[in-house]
């Protein structure tokens, strides 16, 4: 096959793909991180961005060196006879590594530990807030069921508010979730709050976040949990404090009216776990 024919065939392939692609929308809006509606999400965003910039610089420098070497040394002169075995050669490599390691990895490690201890894993502070909201989550194929303790503050009683795929929380207050699963492993994922946590059968895991603005946000499942994994989606409604109080009182009254003492399966909640 002649090279002209070959080039024509390759060109045809590219043209056909381009034609097919032209009919479709160009990449739309929607890039970048989802809107951050949480108290602590900005810590994750900052760390991601610092790391992108830092690693981007490293990558560009390395790529530049590679490209320069490839152009400058493309067989025009004889190669240097250098095994790079000297102490100086080793130190050069180790110095390059040390710079990247301490700046990028070091920053990641220090910030991550700090953020986890002070914020994301600091359940003590979250639960110390007298207004904090506690919710028990039961994940199952393929929905999320939430249980609020109701006015009595105790789970598994007749005033528990139970909701499926909708979660209502007040703004500006820590929300602490304890998660369990009925069947397989699921993972509660709140993209606008930058958190997720697996729900594992046989154990109880926990997660907390705090919403900073009212509105409706999506949550979903992040762990493949069967054919309808993609449908395990719900809506988180963040409400102003007084609206939340009204919602909670009305829902608790509804729950009490609908309570069926015979239906044992409906009382899947557990005593709030102390970790």
């Amino acid at each position: 096959m002649s090279s002209a024919l070959r080039r024509a065939a390759a060109g045809l392939c590219v043209a056909a793909t381009a034609l097919a692609a032209r009919a479709d929308p160009l990449p739309e809006r929607g890039y970048g991180l989802p809107h951050d509606a949480s108290l602590d999400g900005h810590r994750i965003d900052w760390l991601i961005h610092f790391t992108i910039v830092g690693l981007g610089l490293v990558f560009l420098v390395v790529l530049g060196a590679l490209a320069y070497a490839a152009i400058r040394h493309r067989g025009k002169h004889t190669a240097a006879y250098d095994h790079g075995n000297s102490r100086r050669a080793a130190l050069l490599v180790l110095a390059c590594v040390a710079v990247v390691f301490f700046v990028i990895d070091g920053n990641l490690f220090v910030h991550s530990i700090g953020d986890l201890d002070a914020h994301f894993w600091n359940f003590k502070a979250a639960e110390a807030n007298p207004r904090m909201v506690r919710v028990e989550v039961n994940a199952h194929q393929w929905a999320w069921t939430f249980r609020y303790p109701g006015p009595d503050g105790i789970f598994n009683t007749d005033d528990d508010v139970v909701a499926t795929n909708t979660l209502h929380v007040p703004v500006g207050v820590p929300v602490v979730l304890q998660l369990a699963s009925t069947d397989v492993i699921h993972s509660l994922y709140l993209p606008n709050f930058r958190v997720k946590q697996d729900a594992v059968p046989g154990s109880i895991t926990r997660l907390w976040f705090q919403a900073q603005e009212p509105g409706e946000f999506e949550f979903g499942c992040a762990q493949h949990c069967g054919a309808n994994h993609y449908k395990m989606r719900g809506v988180l409604t963040v409400m102003a404090a007084d609206a939340y109080e009204r919602w909670a009182a009305a829902s608790a009254a509804d729950a009490k009216r609908g309570f069926d003492p015979e239906d044992k399966d409906a009382r899947w909640g557990w005593e709030w776990r102390k970790f």
């Binding site: 479709d24 050669a89 369990a180 994922y189 697996d198």
Partner: protein, 598 residues
């Protein structure tokens, strides 16, 4: 000749066996490591095509959900009118992952190169255990057969993801014989890999030619050897996990089923994740170490310059091998792992980036001040450095717990591990195939087609996996049948569609390789000379292309390391820029030298 104690047994213990004559002994149940290597190559490349086809179906689904798949749909999905449904979709991505990792990349990188290269590069006549070697291939073929058969049973093949997490992978989530067959195939391929690994480890320790000290081994052999050690240690763990899962599915045991509202059991699903990832993370390095070794050698060979700080590269690979077993917990950061354990795993994970960077900087310094020949294998090796850079750097985000709170289980993870395990392993393997093809088949592949294949691959891989990283950064979860159920992902429809177009182009570009390969193997093609690339290692300098059954007429006496390029003294005396590993320095024609031949 008195050999130092460190030297392996030589000629007396490596007799020349007569070559087999019957077709079955020669090509089917062959004991010859070269034939077995080529068997693995074929088996792997065919499954690479199968896995790639499945990937195209996933990409179609993300671009055009609920639309009939063109061509493939009318062949394989007649029952549903060519449309992929949610249940079938989970089968497709599960089998894509399993096939690519265990039945395509593993046989090509480890089965093919390990078998073909280890004896040839260390100067041995065959593997230490030829029968075990043959069994290793046939167990592997059996496991591939089980995988193919699992597509034909009721309820389809496995659907619990390539990681097969229970309880989803037990009868609770995946009823039907298909998932059981997948687990069985994993176990069988584990048996095959373990046999291969024992063989490789032993061969490198026992059968090195005289003078082939550890610090004179080609980097390729270091990569393959360390891989074999990891395989020997950790594949049995995967085997035990697969066996326990098999018992849970078939005999009603409850190793991985915990008591929960709707199920009873005394087991622990997280236990499986520990078993899986203590194998699974070394597996990442099992797939990349051979590619690193190949790249390290090829960069030196085609830059015509010694590999920079060879010892540093060797030490770095050894450290990574050890660390690879200690970092697996980063796959489980959000399972509810104890904070102390999580932080320890995070520290160890970040540590592993230091030796990996040593390798990268050594590669850069190797080609620096070289005299580069841009042949196809060199392009693929440079491409490997590029995509491994992207894969490695994105790994830093994911080694970090607080970023995993957001990024875990998103497309960012998918993009990251495709850059390392798919792109870097694939390009590394292709560098190896283009480089050793003349030695394997005695013919040279077309350079023009090879270069076109390279550009399709590097551009395609970068755009496809880059698109995945972007989708993950914007929050898209992995493994969604229809991502656009979520409002916040709807803006990514264009991105996903474009990524799919790039994927289709990448896939189409691979047929350049298929054509090149078949054309050269079966039809005409330039007969390759013994050492077409003018390099130093034993398989090129001391035996023909392809080598005879017994590899070497005389077991070579190795004199030096594998990267003796650009030595001015050699240039002056021999008029060329390289000196073979077993070649005498021209003036040293003393009587002791047993075999001096270019």
């Amino acid at each position: 000749m008195a050999l130092p104690a460190t030297h392996a047994p030589s000629a007396e213990t490596q007799p020349i066996h007569p070559a087999p004559t019957s077709f079955v002994k020669k090509y089917v149940f062959s004991l010859d490591h070269k034939v077995i290597g080529i068997q693995f190559l074929w088996a792997g490349l065919i499954f690479l095509l199968v896995g790639g086809t499945l990937a195209m179906m996933i990409r179609w689904q993300w671009a055009f959900p609920y639309h009939p798949v063109p061509v493939l749909g009318s062949i394989f999905l007649r029952g549903s009118g060519g449309v992929i449904g949610p249940a079938l979709y989970q089968n497709i991505f599960t089998m894509h992952g399993l096939i690519m990792i265990f039945f395509a990349v593993t046989p090509v990188l480890i089965g093919a190169f390990g078998n073909f290269l280890i004896p040839l590069q260390i100067g041995a006549r065959d593997m230490a255990f030829p029968i075990l070697n043959m069994l290793s291939f046939w167990f592997f073929a059996l496991s591939q057969l089980i995988i193919l058969a699992s597509f034909m049973v009721a309820l389809g093949p496995g659907g619990a993801g390539w990681t097969s997490y229970p309880p989803l992978s037990t009868n609770i989530g995946m009823p039907g014989i298909g998932q059981t067959m997948v687990v069985l195939a994993l176990f069988t391929t584990g048996v095959s890999s373990t046999m291969g690994a024992i063989n490789y480890v032993t061969t490198v320790i026992r059968l090195r030619a005289p003078g082939m000290t550890y610090m004179r081994l080609p980097l390729t052999i270091w990569g393959l050897w360390l891989t074999a050690i990891l395989n020997a240690l950790f594949i049995p763990v995967l085997g035990s996990a697969a066996l326990l899962l098999f018992l849970d599915r078939t005999f009603g045991t409850q190793f991985f089923i915990a008591g929960a509202a709707s199920v009873r059991g005394g087991g622990d699903p997280i236990l499986f994740q520990h078993l899986f990832w203590i194998f699974g993370h070394p597996e990442v390095y099992i797939l990349i170490l051979p590619a690193w070794g190949i790249v390290g050698d090829i960069l030196s060979f085609f830059a015509r310059k010694p590999a920079y700080w060879y010892r540093g590269s060797v030490y770095a690979m050894c450290i990574i091998t050890v660390l690879s077993a200690l970092v697996y917990g980063h796959h489980m950061f959000i399972t509810g792992m104890s904070p102390m354990l999580g932080k320890s795993f995070m520290l160890l994970t970040l540590l592993i980036s230091a030796p990996a960077m040593v390798l990268v900087f050594n590669w850069i310094f190797t080609i620096w001040r070289g005299s580069i020949r841009f042949a196809t294998p060199m392009l693929f090796a440079l491409g490997t450095v590029f995509v491994f850079g992207l894969g490695g750097l994105t790994g830093l985000f994911l080694g970090d717990i607080s970023l995993d709170l957001y990024l875990h289980d998103t497309m960012f993870v998918v993009g990251h591990f495709h850059f390392t395990m798919a792109a870097a392993s694939f390009l590394g393997a292709m560098a190896g195939i283009y480089f050793w093809f003349p030695k394997m088949f005695g013919r040279s592949l077309s350079e023009r087609l090879g270069k076109a294949h390279f550009w399709f691959s590097i551009v395609g891989l970068t755009l496809v996996f880059g698109g995945q990283l972007l989708a993950g950064y914007a929050g898209q979860q992995r493994r969604l049948f229809d991502p656009y159920q979520y409002t916040f992902i709807q803006g990514l429809r264009g991105l996903n569609r474009w990524t799919s177009y790039f994927a289709f182009t990448l896939f189409a570009g691979q047929f350049l390789f298929v054509w090149n390969f078949f054309k050269t193997v079966f039809a005409r093609g330039h007969t390759a000379p013994q050492n077409p690339w003018e390099v130093t290692t034993l398989e090129w300098t001391r035996t023909s292309s392809p080598p005879p059954f017994h590899n070497f007429d005389v077991i070579p006496q190795v004199q030096r390391g594998p990267h003796e390029f650009a030595n001015p003294k050699v240039k002056e005396l021999l008029g060329r820029d390289y000196l073979g590993q077993a070649e005498d320095m021209p003036e040293a024609t003393a009587p002791a030298a047993g075999a001096a031949r270019a």
